[in-house]
Symmetry: C2
Subunit: 595 residues, 2 copies
Amino acid sequence: MIKERLARLRREMEKRNIAVYLVPTADYHESEYVGEHFKARKYITGFTGSAGTAVVTRTEAGLWTDARYFLQAAGQLEGSGVTLYRMGEEGVPTLFEYLRSSLKEGEVLGFDGRVVNYALGRRLREIAEEKHGALAVEEDLVGLIWEDRPPLPPAKVFVLEEKYAGRSAAEKLADVRAVMAEKGADVHLLTSLYDIAWLLNVRGNDIDYVPVVLSYLALTKTECLWFVREEVLTPAVREHLAALGVETRPYDDFYAWAAGLEGVSVLLDPKVCNYRLCSSLSESVKVVSAPNPSALMKSIKNDTEAENTRRAHVKDAVAVCKFIHWVQKNVGKIPMSELSAAEYLADRRAEQEGFVELSFDTICAYGPHAAIMHYAPTPETDVPLQPEGFLLVDSGGHYLEGTTDITRTFTLGPVTEEMKRHFTMALRSHIDLAMVRFLYGCSGLNLDVVAREPLWQLGLDYKHGTGHGVGYLLNVHEGPNGFRWRESPERSEGHVLEAGMITTDEPGFYLEGRYGIRHESELLCRKGEKNEFGQFMYFEDITYVPIDLAAVIPEELTAPERRWLNDYHARVYELIGPRLDDEERAWLRDATRPI
Amino acid sequence: MIKERLARLRREMEKRNIAVYLVPTADYHESEYVGEHFKARKYITGFTGSAGTAVVTRTEAGLWTDARYFLQAAGQLEGSGVTLYRMGEEGVPTLFEYLRSSLKEGEVLGFDGRVVNYALGRRLREIAEEKHGALAVEEDLVGLIWEDRPPLPPAKVFVLEEKYAGRSAAEKLADVRAVMAEKGADVHLLTSLYDIAWLLNVRGNDIDYVPVVLSYLALTKTECLWFVREEVLTPAVREHLAALGVETRPYDDFYAWAAGLEGVSVLLDPKVCNYRLCSSLSESVKVVSAPNPSALMKSIKNDTEAENTRRAHVKDAVAVCKFIHWVQKNVGKIPMSELSAAEYLADRRAEQEGFVELSFDTICAYGPHAAIMHYAPTPETDVPLQPEGFLLVDSGGHYLEGTTDITRTFTLGPVTEEMKRHFTMALRSHIDLAMVRFLYGCSGLNLDVVAREPLWQLGLDYKHGTGHGVGYLLNVHEGPNGFRWRESPERSEGHVLEAGMITTDEPGFYLEGRYGIRHESELLCRKGEKNEFGQFMYFEDITYVPIDLAAVIPEELTAPERRWLNDYHARVYELIGPRLDDEERAWLRDATRPI
C-alpha cells in the first residue's frame, strides 16, 4: 500500500520536475499536536509516531525519527520500501546531509510551504541554492494523491465568556494594536492557533488536546480579518465577532490576501509563521520580525484567570486524589493495567463540572516504563499493575477555568530504600524550586539550578527541562516562560518571570530498566515584598495533590523543606478533604499527615 | 588654577573651532586603573576621584560622577567654575543629554580618540551627526596645555619565567594565530595591556596595582610587532623578544602603522579598542569583530598557573592570618586605625617571598564604613579601631605565583545577635556557592542564585556581583567569567565556566550607617565525574584564611554547610598552621576549631 502511494507521489513529482519531496509532521500553524487531516507523513510512510520527517526521491524514500520511535518505526516501515534513518546514531546521515547528497545540480526540492516554518524553509532554500536549483512550495503533493483524506474537523467554535477569560477580546485587540503602533507596524499576521483563540476569546476543538480553531488572523489599525471556515461558526459566535468588529474570510483565502499586501509594514514572528506565508509577501512589504505580542500577554494570567485556574486545580485534584486512592486500595485485588487506570482517571476528570477534555495523552507508566521519556501506554505496551513499586502518572485536564498538568509518582506496595532515596532526592528538587524567592528580573535560566542542585550534588540529573509554561484552556506547553538552565534558541522559555505566569515544576529521576520518578505541580508567579533591593517574587503552588509519604525519607529533607511539605499537605487537606467521600477523606488525612 | 587651565583649554578649542570638548577618565588601553600620566580629567577639573567625565564648552564646564563621589567632588570643585552633575539623581541631565543640548548645529565635538572606546565613540559620533557637525579626535588638547605632565612611568619590563607562566610565549602566539586563521584574519591588533603581557610572558609596572607594560601589539601570520617604549626594555627582555621573533617599534607609531594597513582582514575587539584606532583603519580593511582570543585563553589557568596560585594563596593567607591575629590581640590596647591596620597588612604581604605589589587599594573598613561600597580609607576618612563590632578587610597581593583577592570580616570585640545572624546568612551564601556541583555548560548566570537565595529568602540582597575572574599576576578583575544573575552587555563575565578558571565568591550584607559584611575567597573551577549525564564540575576553594567563628551561629547553618566549614577550617590549619609562630598557631587552632 505504501509502495503504491509512493509511486503515485513520484508521478506527481515527475510531472512537476520535482526531484526530492519532503513531508514533515506539522500543520499550517506550527501546532504542537497535529490533527488527522494533517498527517501526511503518516499517510505516505505508514509510520504513526508523533515525530518524524519523510523524504522521497525518484528512487528512494526515507524516514528520520528519534530514539523514542526506533522500535515502532522499524516495525511499521518493514516492507514499505521506506528506509529508517535513526536520528542521533553514529554513521546515520542527518536530514540535511541526506538532502545535500541526494539533490543534484539544478534540481528542484519540493514541500508544502504551509507545513514548514520559515526558519526551516530558509535552510532548505539554501540547500537548493547551493545546487543552483529551486524550491517548489505551492502545492501539497501528498494531498493530491490522498484518497479518503480525513476532512478538517467539524467542531463548532464557542465563545469563552469574560468570567473565564477575565479580559474582553476588544481590550486584547487594543493591547495588540498598541504594540503594533509601538513597532510601527500597519498589519499583524497571526497564524498561531493558540494566540488567535486567546485574542478573540474563542475556543474550538480542532486539535486533540488543544481546544483551538484552525484559522488565520490579519489585524490592521482598523480592521480585524479572521480567515476561518464558515461552517464552524455558530450564531452566538457570529454575534460575538460582529460586536468586536471582526470580519470573517474563507480559511483558504489567507495566502492570496497576504500576497496582495503592498507597501505596508507587517509584524509577524518568523519562528512561528510558515514558509509559504513569509515567502509570498510582496517585496514592497517591510517585515517587522518579532514575537507575537499576544505570546507574552497570554502567558501573564490576569487575576480572573489566576483565580479560575486555582479552581480548576481544586477540581483536578479531587479527580486525581480519588484516582490514587482507588489504585492504592485495589491494586492486586482487581485487574488493573496502565491503560485501564488511565481510563479510570479520565473518567474522574470528566465528572468534574466545567471539564472540557484532557490536556494531553495521559502518561501512566508502571515500573521500567516510567524511565522511558514520553512513554504513554498503548494496547501493545500495556502492562498489569502489581502491588509493588512505583506508578508514575503525568496527566492533566482542560476546564473552562483553565488547564492543569500534574505528575505524581506513588507506591503500589513495597519499595526499596534506594527507591525512597531517589524519590526523596527528586522531591527536594521539586520543593527547593517551589520555595525559591527571587528578585524581579530573574528568568528560568537563573532558577533552574535550584531544582537540579540536589541531584547534581550526587552526580545525577534528569534529561529534560524542569518546567514549562501552561496556557489557559490552551496549549499545555506555553511560552515564553520555563525552567531550563541551558539557553536554546529554538525554544521560547527564557523570559523574565512575570507575576501571573504559570510554570510547571517537574524534576525527576530515571533509572533505565527499573523505574522513574517525577513530581510535578504548577507554580503561579506572584509579587512579594518590594523594598530598597527591588521587587521580590515568589511562587504559589496551585496543584493540590499529596506527595506519597510512604516513599519519603524525612531525615533527608532539610528543616525548611520538611516545613514546606507539611504546610503544603495541610493546604491540600483543607481544600480537597471536604470534596471527597468519607473513605477517601480518611485516606487523604493520612496521606497529608505532618512528618 | 582650574579656571586658568580651562581658559587655556578653551583657547586651544577656539583655534581648532571645537565647540565642546570631552575629557573622560581612561588611558589608551581601556585599563581598569589609570596611571598619573593619563589623569587629564583630574588636571582639568581638580577632582581626584577614580570615575568621572568632564565636558568643557565655550562658556561652561561640567563634571559627571556617581554617588560614591558626590561629597568629595562637591568639595573639590568649589570655586573652580566646574558644575557638578550628580549621575542618577532626578532632574540631572545625563552626559548624552547635556552633549545633545549644548552642541549646536554644525558644531565640532572634540576628544582624544585614544581615551574613548569604540562603542562610546560611535555614540558621540551619532550626536555630532544629528547636529550635522563633526568629531575632532586626533589631538589631546589637555596634553597641549598640561605643564609638568607626569611622564609615562619608567618601570622596566621583566620576563615572566615559564615556571611561573606554565606555557611559553611562543606557544601562546601559535594559539592566537590559530584562532586568527580560523576567523580568516590576516592581522590581529591588541591594545589591552593585560592580554599583551599574558601573550608575551612579560610584566611591568606601568599602572598602580596592575603589573603591565604600556604598549600595543600587532600580530600577523609571520610577524609580531610590539609598539613599546625602548627605554623600558632590558637586555634580558630583548633577548626574550628576539628568541620569540618579536620586533619592537616606538609606542607612538602604532596608529600610523595601523592606518597604513590596506586590503587585509583585521581581528580586533571593538569593546576594548579605542575610537581613534578603529576609526583610522582604511576602508579597504575588513574588520573581524570578536573578543581578543587571549581573553579566554588567559582566563583558563594552566596546571602550572593553578598550582602556583595555590602557593600564592598559602603565602597570602600567612600574611592575612598574622594580620587578623595582631588586630584582634591588640585592638583597644595600642593605637590602631583603618589606615595603620591596612599598612600593617601590606607589610606582612611584602615579607612574603615572590611578592610583587598589592593587587588593589586595600579596603579596610570599620563599622559604618564597611557599608559604603568601594570605601577605602584616606587620611580624611580614617577612624581609630575600637574593641567592638566588625572590621571588613578586602585586600590582595600580586606574587610571581599569581594574584590574590580575599575579604574577611572579623570581630574586634562584642557583636550583637543581629550582627551574627547577618554574618551567618552571608556565610551561607558564600558556602552554598563554594559547594555547588554543576554540569559543564553552566555559567555564572546560572549559579549566582545559589549564593543569593539565603538572602533572597529574607527579602535581602547585596548590590554587587557575587564574583569576578582573577588574572595571573595581572588584573584582579578579569573576564570572561564571573557570578552575576543579570546579563549585562557591557560586562564580559557570562562565559561558560571552564576548568582552570578562577572566580571570586564574595557575597555580603550591608546595613547603611551601621556595618557591612563580606566573605570572599577564590574558587578554582575543576572537572569532576564524567558520566551519562555529562561532565560534572566543582570548585576548589584556594583561599586559606579562617572565617571568624565568634560571629557564626552554628544552628543557622545546614548540616552540609557546617561540614563544609569544618573541612575548610581543617585544611586552613593544616596548610597555614606550620607557617606561623607558636602564638599565632595557637590562635589559628582555636580559630579553625570544628563547630
